[in-house]
Structure formats: structure tokens, C-alpha cells
């Protein structure tokens, strides 16, 4: 039960959770033959996303950050298994410039701190070694958040990595199999004409 509770917290999608899984459109069974519903699959399932917002050092740091902040558990995938860093590479790349800068300078800072302390990149250090670098994440919550850009980046990355993980196909599929009604379903409003 504890694991389920964790998943519910991560998902934070009360509307979605309220819907039964069978509320989703069902596959074609009795459609008239002249109006077939063509089933398709999504890109994530068959292809590897191209990353390019962050350079290799930055992306390596982001992957390590994901591994530390949202690790896999026995029965649930973590950030790496759900492609959360790759997704954030895309998401941040299409975000307003301030967000891009926050991430790039934050990831650079992670590498600089790791080099300064251990003469290795952030992607090469252990979770225990990363602990002092990630100390700003132990600051108490405040409404406005920290002023320091590095602390601000760490909090943003924590939130984004958790959400990107919890909203992934891999994660939702695991939760859905365990819990009646599943997770990650919401009422989507289609664009107006």
C-alpha cells in the first residue's frame, strides 16, 4: 500500500484518477466497415528521441540528477527508465529563454561543483558524493522559493523530473496494472475551430 500511496502523490492527477480505465476509447470492434478507426502508435514507443538542447556534459548531468532525485524502485520505474531526461531536453528546448538559461547554467554548475570537489563530472560521481552539491534541496519550503539561481534550478529540476517520470507511459502503465481505474487519465478538451 505504501508504494501505491507514493504513486498517487507523484501523479497528482485527481481528475484523472477518478476516471475508470475503461472510460478510454476502446479499440475497434463493431465500427462500420466504411468508417474504420485506424489504430496508430506514438513516437516514443518506436523511436529514440533526438536530444539537442543540452550539450553532452549538461545532458549527462541531467541524467545523473534524474537517477538521484527519482530513482527506480523495486516495482516502479525511475526517471531514467521513463526517459524523463530525454523528455526534459525537449521540453526545456521549447520553453521561454529564462527557463533554458536556468537549466543550462544549473547543469553547468553541477558539473563545475563536481569537478571542483572530485575532479569528475557530475555524471560520474555517486549519489553520496552528490549530497553536498544538492544541499539546497534540503532547505525548508517557501512560497516564493529561493533567490539563488542554482537552488531555483534544483527545485525546478526536482519537480520536472518527478512529473515527467510520473506522467510517462512506462510509469502510468505500471500504476494502472496495480490500481483499479489506473492513473494518468483526464478529460481532454479538443481545440475549437
Amino acid at each position: 500500500m505504501k508504494r501505491r500511496a507514493v504513486l498517487r502523490s507523484f501523479l497528482a492527477l485527481p481528475v484523472a484518477a477518478a476516471l475508470p480505465s475503461d472510460a478510454l476509447p476502446q479499440e475497434v470492434k463493431a465500427s462500420p466497415p466504411d468508417t474504420p478507426k485506424i489504430l496508430t502508435t506514438d513516437s516514443d514507443s518506436v523511436a529514440v528521441p533526438t536530444v539537442g538542447t543540452f550539450d553532452s556534459a549538461q545532458f549527462s548531468a541531467l541524467r545523473k540528477l534524474g537517477e538521484i532525485l527519482m530513482p527506480a524502485a523495486l516495482d516502479t520505474p525511475g526517471a531514467l527508465e521513463t526517459g524523463a531526461p530525454e523528455f526534459l531536453d525537449f521540453l526545456i528546448g521549447v520553453s521561454p529563454p529564462g527557463r533554458v538559461t536556468l537549466y543550462k547554467t544549473g547543469l553547468d554548475r553541477l558539473n563545475a561543483e563536481a569537478h571542483s570537489r572530485y575532479n569528475r563530472s557530475f555524471g560520474e560521481i555517486t549519489a553520496a558524493e552528490a549530497e553536498p552539491i544538492l544541499a539546497p534541496l534540503h532547505a525548508p519550503w517557501s512560497y516564493r522559493g529561493p533567490v539563488d539561481p542554482f537552488a531555483k534550478f534544483l527545485l525546478a529540476a526536482k519537480s520536472d523530473l518527478l512529473t515527467a517520470t510520473a506522467n510517462s507511459r512506462e510509469y502510468v502503465t505500471v500504476v494502472s496494472q496495480r490500481r483499479r481505474g489506473g492513473g494518468g487519465v483526464g478529460q481532454y478538451w479538443y481545440p475549437i475551430e
Binding site: K2, F10, P25, M70, L91, A139, K158, Y188
Partner: protein
């Protein structure tokens, strides 16, 4: 060619109510709305979050001012690029709009509280601002009729600051943690009650008001009609129609009218009047803008006995409301007027509250799952002349209509109230035995509560108000504004119930004036 008596602009709480009341009295109405109708079967449907292009994050930068927008409901809200507005960057304003038939009644929170003479006659109470030209006794009969229409459920308490009404039986349940909180509040003479909310799977103009109007055969609705300007007769000065633009084709139209009723929502109505250059002999049009400030999750607590991730049955659940309790029989030193709270037991605190990560965070989230108790403050914002809207001629919307410039700041009174609300909330939660996980008093930006009010206020003096006590413009007797822009003050109560009651009253008056040939 006119085969309608009244032209109604807007189809939400106020426009919908006007249409219902006027058509029932045999008056032919034509309604214009800037948005399309909603086909609930076609326009929405279930989706998995991972099937959305942005995994539930939404397209970055699409809605910088609509914190309510998610990737699921993004297409429900008015597009900010198509519908721009401006403000001083030092004083941001979050203008949240819905452009569909039914307006914001498609998404409102449904809380339905009556105003009282603590608001209608606020100046008599503390000397600030102006009284409304109407009192509670004037609105009470209309509240009595609106509540059943909206199917409001609630509990009668006898509190003078939120007068009782005509309620459906409240069937909500409580819990042990909620009872503890209620006891803590009672010991400090802080009043509590159950929520008062419109019920039903949908509680909107589109299912509660417009069908009645359409059933009379006296209403026609034109969708996708973006109204640009109210036109007037050069000889009489009376309103004689409107120019509008088709939202999709941008084709221009003019439609004539004998009477114009504006219910386009507070700021859109004032924008339309300002762009039309009408009803502003007082110079007050656009001024005295206010809303209700929110301190979202002013306290977030953990109910200790619920720790462990599996609260025992009956411990958690339920919600309630604390009506204004400050400055009723006593006087606070630091602020006038008052605030209210929503509170609720249950749910799980978000990960951001915990200064943890990795496995430690997951353990803590598991331990506190379902153990949350939280409160949100809703406070009165004082109506001030300097908080106002004007037309920004340099910025136009998608249809070439000049945009609004919004100037609104909270002042010391609101800040003092917000701080007081945090202290009291913390005190109550401690007294209930809850662990306070987080507390703050920072208000959301003006506008975010979606309770924008005023800017076209009513009053008996034509030199200091735009509308008379029946929502009729002082300047043009066949022009009415029936939405929240008419408010003189707002209290801390959610405004839709009062907007509806005022629109019903104004429509009844208009119908009688038309029957007598006065309009």
C-alpha cells in the same frame, strides 16, 4: 430589420440569467457570444497523460497568466495571444477568460454565498468607500429564486454575514479530523459551516439558464460573435445596436437593437463600453476595479494519526468554510473588512513541500499520503479609484479591437489581512493537533482568483457611478450592464450568486420598464 427586442452580449451567469428572465416575460432576445457552443460529447474526451504532446506539462509559455490551465483543459481557456492585454510589469494582473457559450460558468468553483449588509452597507460600518445603492433586503428575494435555479446545497446557520437561503439538503460527510478542527474553531469563536455549492454534474448557464430561455421560442443565440462596439443614435443618444466580428472569418456585421444588455464579464464589459465611448459622463467607467485576494494553501498540515500512508476509516475527509469573522462586532487594529477560509481534510501534500529527494522523499510521500489538511484564504479587496482599466490603443486583439490596460495593486489593508489569516489558520490547526507542514501569506496576483469585479459600478449619484440601482446606465436608458462590473464592493464571498441575483433583478426591472413603455 429588427425582430428582437433586446440584444444581450454574453451568455454566462449574467447574460444567461438576463435571457432567461426576459424571454419568460415574452420579450424577444438576440444573444451574441464571442465563443462557440460546446458539444460535450464531441469537444472533450478521456486521454492518457502520456498521449499528450507535452506529457501533461502543457505547451511552455502558452498561458503565462492562467495558472488554472493544464494540458488537458488548455483549449477551454481564451487564448492569450489572440486576446492580449497589458499592465505595468511591476504590477502583473492575471486575466483569466473563457470564450465559449456559457462563459466561465463552464468551469466555476460553484461556491454560492450571499452578500450581506456588511458589504452592501460597508461604508456605514467602517467609513470606507461607498455603500451600494441597494441593500440586502432588495436582493434577498432574488437570492431566494436564484439558489433553487442553481441547485445550491448548504446548511442554514443564522450567520448574519452570510445570510441563509433556499438550500438543497447538504449530504456531504465529515470526519474525525474535520470534527477536531471544528471544535478548535468553536473554542475560539470562529464560525464554521459546510460548503454552499451549486450541485449537479454540470452547473452552468448552458444547462440551467439557456435551455429555459430557448424553450420560450424568444431567444436566438449567435455564436462566435466578437462585439467590437455599441452604436448609438446621433439624434437620441440611445443605443441602437452593435458592431461585431465573426470570430472565424473576421467578417464584420452590424445588428440593430432597441435595448442592449451587456453581460460579457466584468472587464470585457468595461472594455466594450470604453471602446464604444459611451456611458462615461462620470469619468468613473473603468475605475474601482477589485477582486478577492487568495492565499492558496495558507497552511498545509499533516494529521499526525493519519501518517503511515493508510489513514484509518473515518479519520480523514470532508470540507468546510469559515465565513468572515473579523470586524463584525469588533474592530481590528491593522485592517478593515475581513476574509474567509475554505478548508479540507484529505489528499496528499505535494513533493515540493518536503526538503528531500530520492528514496527519502518517496518514503515521506508514502507516509503522508491521504493525511493532508489544508486551508485557503479568500479576502476582501478594497475598491479604490486608482485601480482601473483603460484602453491601450497600441495593442489590438486578433479581431483588431483595442485591448485593455489593467492597473491593479493590493495595498496595506490586503497585506495585513493576509498575514492575519495565516496566523489565525496556524493557530486553529495547532489547536486541532495538526502538524503545520507549510504556511505563508503571499497572495496570488490580482485577477488569479477569477473574481474580478467593479469597473462599471452602480450608485445613486450619476457623477460617481456608471449604473443606477437597476444596472441601467445613467447616461443611456436603454443600455444595461448586468455582470460583476456593477459591484460596488465584493466582500470575501464568491460572487457568482450575487451576479446572478443582480442580473435577475435588473432583467425584471427592464421587462417592467418595457411593458410600461418607458424603454
Amino acid at each position: 430589420m429588427i425582430d428582437h427586442d433586446v440584444l444581450i452580449i454574453g451568455s454566462g451567469a449574467s447574460g444567461g440569467m438576463a435571457a432567461r428572465e426576459l424571454t419568460r416575460r415574452g420579450i424577444k432576445c438576440l444573444m451574441l457570444d464571442a465563443g462557440p457552443p460546446t458539444d460535450f460529447e464531441r469537444d472533450r474526451g478521456p486521454k492518457r497523460v502520456y498521449d499528450l504532446p507535452y506529457r501533461g506539462f502543457g505547451r511552455p509559455g502558452r498561458f503565462p497568466h492562467v495558472t488554472q490551465a493544464s494540458e488537458f483543459n488548455a483549449n477551454l481557456w481564451a487564448d492569450e495571444k489572440q486576446n492580449p492585454y497589458t499592465y505595468d510589469p511591476a504590477s502583473p494582473y492575471y486575466w483569466v477568460r473563457v470564450r465559449r457559450i456559457g462563459g466561465k460558468t463552464l468551469v466555476w468553483g460553484r461556491a454560492s454565498w450571499r452578500l450581506s449588509d456588511f458589504e452592501f452597507k460597508g461604508k456605514d460600518h467602517d467609513g470606507f468607500g461607498d455603500n451600494w445603492p441597494v441593500g440586502y433586503k432588495d436582493l434577498a428575494p432574488y437570492y431566494d429564486r436564484v439558489e433553487p435555479l442553481l441547485r445550491v446545497a448548504g446548511r442554514k446557520e443564522g450567520f448574519p454575514q452570510i445570510p441563509d437561503g433556499v438550500f438543497l439538503e447538504d449530504s456531504s460527510t465529515g470526519s474525525e479530523s474535520l470534527d477536531r478542527f471544528l471544535a478548535a474553531a468553536k473554542s475560539r469563536n470562529v464560525p464554521t459551516t459546510k460548503p454552499r455549492r451549486a450541485t449537479g454534474s454540470l452547473a452552468s448557464s448552458v444547462n440551467l439558464l439557456l435551455p429555459d430561455a430557448l424553450a420560450t421560442g424568444n431567444l436566438r443565440i449567435v455564436s462566435n460573435a466578437v462585439v467590437r462596439e455599441i452604436t448609438t443614435d446621433k439624434n437620441t443618444g440611445l443605443a441602437n445596436g452593435v458592431h461585431f466580428v465573426d470570430r472565424r472569418s473576421k467578417r464584420e456585421f452590424h445588428v440593430q437593437a432597441r435595448v442592449v444588455v451587456v453581460g460579457a464579464s466584468a472587464l470585457e464589459s468595461s472594455r466594450l463600453l470604453l471602446n464604444s465611448g459611451v456611458a462615461n459622463s462620470s469619468g468613473v467607467l473603468g475605475h474601482y476595479l477589485f477582486d478577492q485576494f487568495y492565499v492558496k494553501n495558507v497552511v498545509t498540515c499533516i494529521v499526525p494519526e493519519a501518517r503511515g500512508g493508510q489513514p484509518r476509516r473515518g479519520l480523514m475527509g470532508g470540507s468546510g468554510y469559515i465565513p468572515r469573522f473579523r470586524n463584525l462586532d469588533t474592530r481590528e487594529k491593522n485592517f478593515i473588512r475581513g476574509y474567509a477560509y475554505d478548508f479540507g481534510s484529505g489528499g496528499s501534500p505535494g513533493a515540493s513541500y518536503f526538503p528531500l529527494y530520492g528514496e527519502a522523499l518517496q518514503k515521506e510521500l508514502a507516509a503522508t499520503s491521504g493525511a493532508q489538511f489544508s486551508m485557503t484564504t479568500m479576502g476582501e479587496v478594497l475598491p479604490r479609484y486608482e485601480n482601473h482599466v483603460s484602453i491601450d490603443r497600441n495593442v489590438k486583439d486578433e479581431w483588431g479591437i483595442p485591448a485593455l490596460h489593467i492597473q491593479h495593486k493590493y495595498t496595506d489593508n490586503e497585506f495585513a489581512m493576509a498575514k492575519d489569516s495565516m496566523q489565525m489558520a496556524e493557530e486553529l490547526c495547532h489547536a486541532a493537533g495538526f502538524e503545520v507542514l507549510a504556511k505563508h501569506w503571499e497572495m496570488v496576483p490580482p485577477g488569479e482568483s477569477i473574481h474580478e469585479l467593479g469597473s462599471c459600478r452602480m450608485g445613486d449619484n450619476a457623477k460617481t457611478s456608471v449604473l443606477n440601482r437597476y444596472n441601467q446606465t445613467h447616461d443611456i436608458r436603454n443600455l444595461f450592464v448586468v455582470d460583476g462590473s456593477a459591484f460596488v464592493s465584493g466582500g470575501s464571498q464568491n460572487p457568482t450568486l450575487t451576479i446572478s441575483a443582480l442580473a435577475m433583478r435588473a432583467s425584471e426591472y427592464l421587462a417592467e420598464q418595457m411593458r410600461q413603455g418607458e424603454i
